[in-house]
């Protein structure tokens, strides 16, 4: 038996719906599962559309010179951060990466604070201290990324360690690209999480390229298969199918919450834009992009909502209209918000006291039914 078979078998035990994503008929999720209500499904669509439109607006602002520095987006990967973050309870914690804007919105971030961060405004999440996607709203239980990848994997592991040590039914989640899996830090985090059976959920976004480097130059064996060697399940799902991501992640979160340890979930997807806005992606074959464009996660989900779940075209269009108005207003708000006062530049390297992170929004109708409330250190 190969490692691959081992991990798939584990995955099957974990969650039947998450297996065999290659075959659309097998991928079809049970509509009677009771996991997602009509409102939940509309919310999933709304978060994906919000991510897509917010990033589209951000890219335009960057090209207009209104966003300084650089610009990174998760175009084509909207289903992953949205589907994964949607499973969390308020007291869970999440370290969000640069292709995962949807997770910020699921946890409650407003679009203007995202755009404001890109513009270096006082109202951006970091108040101008850090830029682009390097942010996490501490009041929403989010911890922002750094440029070194996958540096947040050990941090999420440590958050999970705190939950385990205190006996709390809480989960730490983080994301990383397949590029990160070549780095030793990734191995250290996975191994430690496995040894300690920590309540962590790892989302591996395999979008085909680490900047310009294709999978075949990144690894010999699909990194999801390494999960078995760390002693926890590795699943592979269609990362462009928001409900497949949700279902696999929900199973992993439930497993982590009940003391079952970590899970690695590979979401197979495609980075539809360059690594950053400066990257023309000339190394990606056009036919490859065209193929993936036919599998756009938002288009796929809208078709499914109409065809399988009885949503009207008007309901879907209304989401787009409302999000469009929200993003336009957010861009105006961000553009008219002040730049930070330079006096703060030299402040804040040291903390005066420790304070707990706040809890994030948890819009899923069944979120947190079995979770611990937000922890407070015993001090």
């Amino acid at each position: 038996m190969t490692l691959s078979e081992t991990s798939v078998r584990d995955a099957t035990r974990l969650d039947d719906a998450a297996q065999s994503p290659h075959d659309p008929s097998e991928r079809e999720l049970p509509t009677e599962s009771g996991l997602l209500t009509r409102t939940d499904r509309l919310a999933l669509l709304r978060y994906m559309v919000t991510m897509s439109q917010a990033e589209e607006r951000g890219l335009a602002l960057y090209r207009q010179g209104k966003i300084t520095g650089s610009f990174y987006d998760g175009c084509g990967q909207e289903a992953i951060s949205v589907g994964a973050a949607f499973t969390l309870a308020p007291s869970d914690r999440i370290c969000i990466l640069h292709r995962d804007l949807g997770a910020h919105f699921v946890r409650g971030l407003s679009v203007d604070r995202y755009l404001g961060n890109y513009m270096g405004r006082a109202g951006g999440v970091t108040g101008g201290k850090d830029g682009n996607m390097h942010f996490g709203d501490r009041s929403l239980g989010c911890v922002g990324m750094v440029s070194m990848l996958p540096a947040m994997a050990p941090v999420a592991t440590g958050i999970a360690l705190a939950f385990k040590m205190r006996g709390e039914r809480r989960v730490a989640m983080t994301f990383f690209g397949e590029g990160s899996t070549a780095n030793g830090v990734w191995h250290e985090a996975m191994n430690f999480a496995g040894v300690q059976r920590l309540p962590a959920v790892f989302l591996l976004e395999n979008n085909g390229f680490a900047y310009s480097t294709p999978n075949e130059l990144e690894f010999r064996v699909d990194p999801v298969e390494r999960a078995a060697t760390y002693g926890f399940p590795g699943l592979s799902v269609d990362g462009n199918d928001v409900e497949a991501v949700f279902t696999a992640t929900q199973g992993a979160v439930a497993r982590a919450r009940s003391g079952g340890g970590p899970t690695l979930i590979e979401c197979r997807t495609m980075r539809m834009h360059g690594h950053g806005a400066h990257d023309d992606m000339s190394y990606v074959p056009p036919e490859m992009l065209a193929e993936w464009r036919r599998r756009d996660p938002i288009d796929l989900y809208e078709a499914r909502l109409r065809e399988n779940f009885g949503f009207s075209g008007e309901e879907v269009d209304k989401v787009h209209r409302e999000v469009s108005a929200e993003v336009a207003a957010a861009a105006e708000a961000a553009l008219s918000s002040p730049m930070p006062d330079a006096v703060i530049a030299r402040r804040g390297a040291f903390a005066d006291r420790w304070e707990p992170l706040g809890d994030g929004d948890a819009p899923w109708s069944q979120s947190g039914a079995d979770a611990s409330p937000g922890g407070r250190a015993g001090r």
């Binding site: 914690r93 999440v125 970091t126 201290k129 850090d130 390097h134 942010f135 996490g136 501490r138 911890v143 922002g144 750094v146 440029s147 070194m148 540096a151 947040m152 994997a153 050990p154 941090v155 999420a156 592991t157 440590g158 958050i159 999970a160 360690l161 705190a162 939950f163 040590m165 730490a172 030793g184 830090v185 250290e188 985090a189 191994n191 430690f192 040894v195 804040g348 390297a349 040291f350 903390a351 005066d352 006291r353 420790w354 304070e355 707990p356 992170l357 922890g375 407070r376 250190a377 015993g378 001090r379």
Partner: protein
């Protein structure tokens, strides 16, 4: 007060903090049942259980990173690097994640990294380093380097209670050779305060860690009126104590076991040059390790690390200036 070794004082401070605060836990290699490479956590696993004296895999980024995450969530991790040299393997998590966390996101990271450092025992290039200057260039880290058992306990307690990442340099050469009076029970030495280890009027040796003992011995053997200022904290530096002593004696030797270029001594010398130039009677001198890796063979190691004779000679030269 009880007389105890530097090593026992570190154990004592750590043990008392773990008894006082259940969020304090230890994370490192071989620290559990084995008690640590230098036995700082000897007996801890029995008292606190292996969950709070957590043996980690050989993975420094996982140790520092997991401590960072746990600290964000309200725990007070105390990491042990088996040797301070190995912080290089966890450097990314320390300087890019933990150190910058509060500045970037307003998220406090209350954690301690214990760093058994220093040479003098044929440890060679990878078990003898004094890496404090690496941290000095990374804003967001507090850096402590006690020279006495009393300060080792008191500063470790402060480090554990501090809401920031703290690098705690404990010199291996002092572990069992330095022994002094340490208060029983709660004992706190404030971070950021230097200590006059020996008052004097003719010149000042500004030192920390092992160099403090070298300076004290040199001053005694020379029989001169030399002041020894023990920095104790390297970040934030006690600039007032440095300038006060420099202004009073007018002659300063900055001494440390770490290499010279861009070291703590350079920072102290620059501070004195900028703020106390008018009060100086001599150029500020430095006594440090040479700018080479720490060699293995005893005669080579002694040629690189500052020795007692070097300290005496440097003091004599400055006194005669």
């Amino acid at each position: 007060m009880t007389e105890m070794t530097y090593l026992d004082a570190i154990s004592d401070g750590l043990r008392e903090e773990m008894r006082r605060d259940e969020t304090v836990f230890c994370l490192g290699q071989d620290i559990g049942a084995f008690g640590g490479a230098f036995k700082v956590t000897d007996g801890f696993a029995e008292e606190f259980g292996c969950d709070r004296v957590l043996d980690a895999p050989l993975a420094e980024n996982a140790i520092i990173g997991a401590a960072t995450g746990a600290a964000i969530e309200g725990m007070r991790p105390v990491c042990e690097m088996q040797f301070s040299d190995f912080i290089a393997c966890g450097f990314d998590q320390l300087v890019n994640v933990a150190a910058k966390m509060h500045y970037r996101q307003g998220v406090a990271v209350p954690m301690v990294v214990r760093l058994p450092s220093g040479g003098g025992f044929s440890g060679g290039p990878f078990h003898s380093q004094n890496p404090e200057a690496w941290f000095m260039q990374s804003p967001g880290l507090k850096i402590l380097a006690p020279a006495t058992a009393n300060d080792a306990k008191g500063l470790l307690v402060s480090a554990i209670r501090d809401p920031n990442p703290v690098c705690f340099l404990e010199h291996k050469g002092l572990y069992r050779h330095v022994r002094d009076e340490v208060p029983e029970g709660e004992h706190i030495v404030a971070i950021g305060e230097a200590r006059v280890a020996r008052p004097g009027e003719e010149m000042t040796v500004i030192a920390y860690g092992s160099a403090v003992h070298l300076a004290l011995q040199a001053a005694t053997e020379l029989g001169e009126d030399i002041e020894v200022l023990d920095l104790r904290t390297l970040c934030p530096l006690d600039t007032e104590a440095i300038l006060t002593s420099a202004r009073r004696t007018g002659k300063v030797l900055v001494a440390h076991e770490a290499t010279q270029s861009c070291g703590v001594g350079a920072e102290v010398a620059a501070l004195i040059a900028a703020e106390a130039f008018e009060d100086l009677d001599a150029p500020v001198r430095r006594l440090t390790a040479a700018d080479v890796p720490i060699p293995f063979s005893p005669p080579l190691e002694q040629a690189v690390l500052p020795q007692l004779d070097d300290m005496k000679e440097a003091c004599r030269e400055l006194l005669a200036y």
